[in-house]
Symmetry: C3
Subunit: 246 residues, 3 copies
């Protein structure tokens, strides 16, 4: 049995720089998940337990999805610090919200989520490459690792996932960051630290600019409203006849 975090094996410093960065990104996303659960458009009379669960989904949901798709035991389950961090982030979010109200959120905190977004994208892309996936699949994995937790939170709260609607280039930031990293690292053979730094700075800047300037992914024209829903009760035969008659 893997021991508790109190054992030397799981000393926080044994995580190394990368591990600490990953833990900060997870905590940031967990914190964000807890705040999200309390926002009026998501709030559905959640209990504290529910908020903690949503913080877990936000913090380690994307990483778990990534590793399940890559057919490995999810890394956030292998180190107890992820679970402790998510738990702490949920508690901190509730405490801060209690004392400050939600004014807090829209401002300074957006910087931190803008940091964790490219970080998850780069880690996701690299993990996919380590499992022998190609550029396209690695970019897809990066998007899922980065934004997957958010979509589960949105669906659980009865909200349309942010990936699908206007959200200040939420998905596009992940796509571009992962693609930039992969091209630098594997097409041009740039050093891993330099590739990471360039892609992270780009992703961070692109996301912040999108939020500052209100850049959005393109939403196309409204679909024609005429046609009714799923089940035309007249059967397929009539449709085909109508089409042939045209």
């Amino acid at each position: 049995m893997t021991p508790l975090i109190f054992s030397p094996q799981f000393a926080l410093w044994s995580l190394g720089t990368l591990g600490i960065l990953d833990l900060i990104a997870a905590s940031t996303n967990a914190f964000n998940g807890a705040l999200l659960a309390r926002r009026p458009d998501h709030y559905k009379h959640f209990t504290v337990m529910g908020i903690v669960l949503l913080a877990f989904v936000g913090g380690i949901g994307g990483g778990i999805l990534r590793d399940v798709l890559l057919d490995t035991v999810p890394k956030p389950l292998l180190n107890p610090w992820y679970i402790v961090a998510c738990f702490g982030a949920a508690g901190l979010a509730l405490t801060i919200e209690y004392y400050s109200g939600q004014r807090f959120r829209s401002g300074l905190f957006a910087f931190m989520t803008a940091f964790s977004l490219p970080w998850y994208a780069i880690v996701g892309a690299q993990t996919a490459v380590d499992r022998h996936l190609g550029y396209f699949a690695a970019t897809l994995i990066a998007v899922i690792a980065t934004t997957g937790g958010r979509s589960i939170i949105d669906i659980a709260c009865g909200v349309i996932p942010k990936q699908l609607v206007r959200g200040e280039n939420f998905v596009l930031t992940a796509v571009l960051t992962a693609a930039l990293y992969l091209v630098l690292r594997y097409t041009f053979g740039v050093d891993v630290v330099v590739s990471t730094a360039i892609a992270a700075v780009f992703g961070f800047g692109f996301r912040l600019l999108s939020q500052f300037l209100g850049w959005e992914e393109f939403e196309p024209w409204e679909p024609p409203p005429s046609e009714a829903g799923e089940k035309p009760r007249h059967g397929l035969g009539d449709d085909l006849l109508a089409e042939f008659k045209r």
Copy 2:
């Protein structure tokens, strides 16, 4: 690192006949997913990025679910053509919708989805058997591989999954096709090509007939409306007392 699709290793013809068929089925489902996202009952002001993501879910979501359940790296992630095909299908769907409106959909396209449905069912059942699952589990995997992507699209769009409501034998077609294939192939030892052909023709015909003639899975009587929701605030004790008194 697995190279890009421009490398000879991923020449389209290296997929073989089965690979091409599978790619066509994925493209059809991706195309369908993109159209679905634009249909009035599903449409929720999706961006182009959102529509592309939903096309991915429709095109490779079922195959990914299948392979995750069978504990392997998802096959649609191992070959870049799947991702290219989904992307192209989404673009094509938006283009066609722009020029033709949605009249297009109900007719000729139903033929193609009626083709991809039994195809996915057979591939799903065979993949499950290759991983040493039995008849029942293989049929269940076939249903998930065939219809799983659709349920994710429906849920993401805030719609009740088509599997659960009347949908012209959507699930039953997958069940019967997979079961027919498995019985032919493994109970009677029929050749794999013949088994596939018979099951595919059956599934294709059954699905088309269901759509033409409006065959539906049975929807039972309305449940009694009296009893209130989830949480009877009077506690379990009262319920039991009431039951014993009867």
Copy 3:
């Protein structure tokens, strides 16, 4: 190919005591899932096929999620009896509901679900430990194995998952049962049968008491209603300015 259940390899008695208990728990949850699909707050004009599918989700959904997260082929897919049991439970639920109405549910049946809840928690925790996860991750896996199926049912039915709202300590029971089992078994080295018995009795009693006495997880204060939804159309810059001005 793994043969059908009629073969001696899958004789019901070959499951052993633990296997039979697990099968009973799965059947109970499948039965519960089918009844849930018919309850007014969940009912959405489901077909019989839809009810059967929801019974599968309830019965084996949690176990499948558990094994997918632990990177193994889901155990409920390896033995055909799980699928047969879920199918039978769905049929039984529909039959009973037809003859008795839903009065049946709130009473005696709550005992059986209160039994299957700690059972899944203990099995989930033990399975996680067998895959070398630690206390915290094993408890998280136990919660997912116990309650994951229910969340999929709720989401598919367009209902907020019961984990997130007041539900008579639905999640807390799983957490406490798994933690108690793990501490007894691995911190104090208690025999596996004794640990299981103590944790199961505790979980069963705690859940029943919660239902009898209406114990609930804590639901915090209402969030401040003022702040608008997701996308402040004024951009991040204004928010930061406002914050600095304070």
